[in-house]
């Protein structure tokens, strides 16, 4: 990895800035830790911690009504919480960029993560969200840029699923 360019979260943060994303809705998440910190430290971005993921779907809708772009950072286990709220995006033709860190797939050690992790893409697609996958860190910037352009120019919801293999499975050794 090019040290000066930073890791994949740094590249995603840089692309979010270039996409003029101004509101960053997030739930606490190990995979997104670095990206959340970068967004919190960025004076051009307003970081908004949520109590549950669907709050972020509604926040992003309000942001767009007011002329700003938003991103929603979440984990696959939170996707199910968003389903009914995603009616906003289909019915109002509202953009949404979701960056979803995956659990419940490659090397998962917590079986409780498997049901939502194994149905994340299917659930999103059933709710009308376009799903893209990020499998390797090298593609992080261009994948998020492509997804953001599709979402904001097309006024559609797009989710990027960030593979668990990229993030690493959570360890339960402590």
């Amino acid at each position: 990895m090019d040290a000066a360019a930073g890791g994949w979260p740094d590249r995603i943060h840089r692309v979010l800035g270039e996409l003029d994303v101004r509101q960053v809705a997030y739930v606490p998440d190990a995979g997104h830790t670095r990206l959340i910190e970068l967004c919190q430290a960025d004076p051009a971005m307003r970081a908004v911690p949520l109590t549950t993921e669907e709050e972020g779907v509604a926040l992003a809708a309000g942001a767009w009504l007011g002329g700003q772009r938003a991103v929603l950072l979440l984990q696959s286990s939170g996707v199910g919480n968003c389903i009914n709220m995603l009616a906003l995006n289909q019915v109002c033709r509202l953009p949404l960029l979701m960056l979803v860190t995956m659990r419940g797939e490659w090397g998962e050690l917590n079986p409780w993560q498997l049901p939502m992790g194994q149905s994340t893409a299917e659930a999103l697609e059933a709710a009308g969200v376009i799903v893209q996958r990020l499998e390797a860190p090298e593609g992080a910037g261009e994948t998020v840029r492509a997804a953001g352009n599709m979402a904001f120019e097309g006024q559609v919801p797009v989710a990027v699923l960030i593979a668990q293999r990229l993030i690493g499975a959570k360890s339960f050794d402590r």
Partner: protein
Amino acid sequence: MDRGASERFPLRRREVAGRLLADPGDLLVVAGLGSTAWDVTAAGDRPLNFPLWGAMGGAAMLGLGLAIAQPERRVLVITGDGELLMGLGSLATIAVQRPANLALVVFDNERYGETGMQATHTAHGVDLAGVAAACGFPITGTLREEDELEAALPAIRTGPGPVLYVAKVRAEPLPFALPPKDGAYLKDRFRRALLGEDARAP
């Protein structure tokens, strides 16, 4: 407990909506789904209203996203007790962001009006203004009489937010006053009115 108490509340929801929106100017209004969307529409459909037909539990957060994007404009969310109860965590989220330009007025008839008038938790004593105060909203209150509503109007319109008032309104059957239901139309007309004719992806 008197289960029929809210049928005798003095405040009438259509009159409260009329008072809140008597001279709306450039106020940005979000209305929660169901009765409050009809109430806001009865007061006058306008491009800067965003009435919801779904997305239950999302009205307050929609108001927050809008308030952050438009810090110079006043944002008023008018929603029902049932709608807010479904997104109760959003009060905590809003309090943390502390948007000075956001006010919420909850029309609390202690009923789920669109589904058969079943009692909501507020009929059993859950205090939504108390929840907002505990979350850290600087201005909160519960309004039961017309003079209390009049006294609260300046805070709702210009008080340092986030502001949340609960208006205890009568549980009563009312004629529908339906806004347009095409969400893409509602969004486009709102953005055009707010951002200009050529409002596009910013």
